[in-house]
């Protein structure tokens, strides 16, 4: 039998060498652990600190910057729980609260696209569940290498079917997301998943253990040897053999069926009042759940690791502590409630086991085969991890990049050139119809989806009687952010905010997923710092607080990092979803208006990229005040029933937006361009949108725009089966549709 390292042995053998570097701990971090414990850590303790102090769990490189989200947060009464919880919680009125968060699963999705993406969805759903909410919808923001690269053909279909499999099987409607391509993501696809949940105010749960004597229950899937590369390092280093630790998979397999049972089971447990505190098991498994629950409650906890239900009886304590087996939760339960708790779990066929209890000692103690193997202050692992102020340096070529303005690039000449340019953009993988992806996602389940793809935002009804609903959009643009990280992050926020606003919803709160290269590279750190600063400032200006998010570093291949890619999610409230605005031109005879100011802005634009493979210059100017006024116009116009269609302008500018409106609703339009035709069609100036006004409402709508100082130009009328530009060109909807629809099926089958 293997001898396991115990607290007593650790005290007796202070000099035994330990593989801290292989576990990702620096010499200084290791020394600090010894100092905290007053001795060397046991193997199990080392396992706990190594996962809890990892970049992923401790945010050690980002913490110093992320503080700005709280420091600069706009005053709001809507926030019921902010940053630091599993997910932020927002009051949306009528007694309802909403919790939402976006998270990355980038690296696992590259290694094993299907399972990586599937477990990414599973993980974020459990975060939402742990707040006490019923998960009601998911979204996915995806970025891949070039659409025609062979590896993209491996990764993309796998990722999409993994999300489809997990989300559909869970019964959560997919209400939107993103799909973008760029060579920078070739070895580092970005798979960011968002989940949103709904609860009544009183249902909010905390990840905190309280009340000494209360029981610690682990429930859900059994613990197996999933994703414990670190534990095999420990096993081979400590026990001198590769044997046992060698065959540990780094791939986690998702079981959406178990997760569905877990959701229903948890909600029944919550409703029965049986849960004092609860935490999902994410990346750091039992290590994370125990230390965070104990630290959160300011209590101690005694855990008997022998009681953990195992899928593989050969697992040792460090492996159990580090296992990333999916579909598990941990709850704190009063002793009198344990029987009832177990009954409910049994009803849902969810395995559950009492593995320990809350104590008043303030220490986390764990035993294995009757011996004490962990004895540490839980806060030291959960909250007091290292914090680094890493050096940040503007990259060498940044100025040259900004100076390389696309205004010098040759532009299409004449109507034929503009026509061809529009079709080329519309058919480019980034702007092409995403139905190949979204038709694999169930958007109908639960019966409350009011808007989903291809709309600007997803919209879910919360209350059938009052029509209260929530709108959500995610956006990010790595090209803009590369050119100017401060502005790029703000533009991502502005776009998501605008996408929510054009449905008629009021933007309320923000989540973010920061996808960057290595924080140890000062250039990347500069991008990160600038992006966080930009986002925090913009949130303050728009009056929407950041409620949570996720940082994903080390997205790089060799020394080359991805474009800095903050992906921003915005949540809005819709007072009556029956009044929602959608993007399709359906009927003839509505006047088409372009809202906002258009300047010649082509830096980072889709046109520069598709027509010239160019990336340089400055991204579009950020005008947050204009965004606010635009959003206010939409909220009022929706409530007044003034609009037949509304669509924001983003990638590909007016050209792509017009085509999307025509294709989504089936009616064409005839427009005359207000300025230089090329700039009118392809500029990506922000804070703009396209609307079709209901006949008879023109004056009222013009009044709204005037009141808010939003420029509104009548550019044409809906109708017919062509997208026609007066004095320019005309394209039949059939030709538009063919260009838009064929790209992804052509690439992916």
């Amino acid at each position: 039998m293997t001898r396991h390292d115990t607290v007593a042995r650790a005290a007796a053998t202070p000099e035994r060498p330990q593989p801290h570097a292989e576990l990702g701990l620096t010499a200084a971090e290791y020394a600090r652990i010894r100092e905290i414990l007053g001795r060397r850590p046991t193997d199990a303790e080392l396992a706990i600190y190594s996962v809890m102090w990892s970049e992923h769990c401790s945010y050690k490189s980002s913490k110093a910057h992320l503080r700005q989200f709280a420091e600069k947060a706009p005053p709001t009464e809507a926030l019921l729980a902010g940053i630091g919880h599993n997910a932020g919680v927002v009051d949306i009125g009528q007694g309802y609260a909403v919790t939402f968060k976006i998270e990355s699963h980038n690296h696992p999705s590259y290694v094993e696209p299907f399972q990586g993406a599937a477990t990414g969805v599973g993980g974020i759903v459990r975060d939402i569940l742990a707040m006490g909410a019923r998960p009601v919808a998911v979204m996915d923001a995806l970025r891949f290498g070039p659409a025609d690269a062979p590896d993209t053909r491996r990764v993309l279909p796998g990722v999409v079917s993994g999300i489809s499999f997990y989300g559909n099987c869970l019964g959560l409607p997919n209400i939107g997301g993103e799909l973008a391509f760029d060579p920078c993501y070739a070895g580092n696809p970005l798979v960011n998943a968002l989940c949103v949940g709904v609860m009544r105010h009183g249902d909010l749960k905390r990840a905190a253990a309280e009340g000494p004597g209360n029981k610690v229950v682990l429930f859900g899937s059994r613990t197996g040897p999933d994703g414990i590369g670190g534990a095999s390092v420990l096993a081979s280093a400590s026990f001198g053999g590769a044997g046992e630790g060698a065959k540990r998979p780094s791939v986690q397999v998702g079981d959406p069926f178990m997760e569905k049972l877990l959701i229903e089971c948890c909600l029944e447990l919550y409703a029965a009042g049986l849960v004092v505190g609860v935490q999902d098991l994410g990346a750091a498994g039992v290590s994370c759940a125990t230390t965070e629950l104990a630290a959160g409650g300011g209590v101690g906890m005694r855990v008997d690791l022998d009681a953990v239900p195992l899928r593989d009886a050969a697992l040792g304590p460090a492996e159990i502590l580090m296992s990333e087996s999916q579909e598990r939760m941990m709850a704190i339960v009063e002793p009198a409630g344990v029987g009832r708790f177990m009954e409910i779990c049994a009803r849902w066929d969810v395995p559950a086991e009492v593995i320990g209890e809350v104590t008043g000692t303030g220490r986390l103690e764990m035993t294995w085969h009757g011996e004490l193997i962990v004895d540490l202050p839980p806060g030291s692992a959960a909250d007091d991890g290292p914090v680094y102020d890493r050096s940040a340096l503007r990259p060498a070529g940044q100025r040259e990049l900004a100076a390389d303005d696309p205004s010098a690039l040759p532009r299409p000449a004449g109507a034929a050139g503009l026509r061809a340019g529009l079709l080329a953009l519309l058919a480019s993988p980034d702007a092409a119809d995403k139905a190949w992806v979204t038709e694999q996602y169930d958007s109908y389940v639960r019966g409350d989806t009011v808007l989903a793809a291809p709309q600007d935002a997803g919209l879910v009804r919360i209350d059938e009687r009052t029509g209260l609903g929530i709108a959500l959009a995610t956006d990010g643009n790595g090209r803009y952010t590369l050119l100017d990280p401060y502005a790029g992050a703000q533009l991502a926020l502005a776009e998501a905010y605008r996408n929510v606003a054009v449905t008629g919803a009021r933007p309320l709160a923000v989540t973010n997923c920061m996808n960057f290269g290595s924080p140890e590279d000062p250039a990347v750190m500069w991008q990160f710092a600038e992006a966080v600063r930009g986002l925090a400032d913009a949130c303050a200006a728009l009056g929407v607080p950041v409620t949570g998010g996720n940082v994903s570093f080390y997205n790089q291949t060799g020394g080359t990092a991805i474009h800095p890619t903050p992906v921003i999610g915005v949540l809005g409230v819709h007072d009556d979803v029956r009044q929602r605005l959608s993007l399709g031109f359906r009927e003839a005879g509505a006047s088409v208006l372009l809202l906002g100011r258009t300047a010649a802005e082509f830096g980072g634009s889709l046109w520069a990229r598709i027509a010239h493979g160019h990336l340089g210059g400055r991204p579009p100017r950020v005008d947050l005040d204009a965004e606010r006024q635009l959003a206010a116009v939409f909220a009022a116009a929706a409530a007044g029933g003034l609009l037949a269609a509304a669509h924001d302008l983003s990638d590909g500018g007016l050209a792509v937006a017009l085509a999307e409106c025509c294709l989504a609703g089936g009616a064409g339009c005839t427009v005359s361009l207000p300025g230089d035709p090329f700039t009118s069609l392809f500029s990506e100036s922000s804070a703009r949108a396209l609307v079709a006004v209901r006949p008879g409402c023109e004056a009222a709508f013009a009044g709204l725009c005037a009141d808010r100082g939003v420029p509104a130009a009548v550019i044409g009328t809906t109708g017919g089966q062509h997208l026609a530009v007066t004095g320019g060109f005309s394209i039949s909807l059939d030709e538009l549709r063919a260009a838009h629809r064929q790209t992804l099926p052509g690439l992916f089958g």
Partner: protein
């Protein structure tokens, strides 16, 4: 007295709430039925809703077929109780041999979620009597294993005896034999439908309100008996 329509929840059922809502919208009372209870609670009709019972592991519907509630449902269905299986429910009814044939992997090999047009072929079942023969309706299709498959003899019989309830109008979305979207048993009381009428009861949240006809039909049927 309002008609009571049972909606079975299996582990992994997903559209049970939607089916119950559709029943209520049509004016009936939705009665939740639990997979582990051998009890139909005296309902007038039963719906097996969509979803992924038991994760759709092994084969869709293969494990749910053995649920305790099925030991009550099978004889009741054979005795004439109106039963509607939607999507996963259809798969369960086939696995339980209440309906002939099987549902297999979509010909495109991917999950398909989209609005589809159906042509109603039989209005002689308790679930379809409110429709007109040949009427076209728009509902939602969302399934990975939705291609109806049966031997040539069975297929010929289904056609000849008017047991095909609905076919896909327009392009076949999943490679279903003869474009079959739904069938019924000889007696007509047991209907299996691959697309989801319960997601088409309100144009706000679905493509149309056409699906209500299925639920309104069974209420009418129950009132008559």
């Amino acid at each position: 007295m309002t008609t009571r329509v049972g909606v079975i929840t299996f582990p992994g059922s997903l559209d049970d709430k939607d089916a119950a809502r559709a029943v209520r919208r049509a004016g009936g009372e939705a009665v939740p039925l639990w997979h582990a209870d051998r009890d139909l609670h005296g309902v007038d009709a039963v719906i097996l809703p969509g979803g992924f019972s038991y994760g759709d592991y092994l084969r869709c519907g293969a494990i749910a077929r053995f649920a305790p509630v099925m030991t009550e449902l099978v004889p009741a269905a054979r005795a004439g109780l109106p039963v509607l299986g939607i999507c996963n429910g259809f798969q369960i009814l086939c696995e339980a041999h209440l309906l002939p044939g099987a549902l297999t992997r979509n010909s495109g090999l991917r999950f398909v979620s989209k609005d589809v047009r159906l042509r109603m072929e039989s209005t002689a079942t308790p679930w379809t009597r409110q429709f007109a023969a040949g009427q076209e309706i728009t509902v939602v299709l969302k399934s990975g294993e939705g291609a109806y498959m049966a031997g040539p003899v069975t297929l010929a019989e289904l056609g000849a005896r008017g047991l095909v309830v609905a076919r896909y109008a327009g392009a076949n979305p999943n490679g279903s034999a003869a474009g079959i979207a739904g069938i019924c048993n000889e007696a007509g009381n047991v209907v299996g439908l691959m697309p989801h009428p319960e997601h088409a009861i309100d144009a706000l949240t679905g493509p149309s309100a056409d699906g209500l006809g299925f639920f309104a039909s069974v209420l009418l049927a129950a009132e008559r008996t």
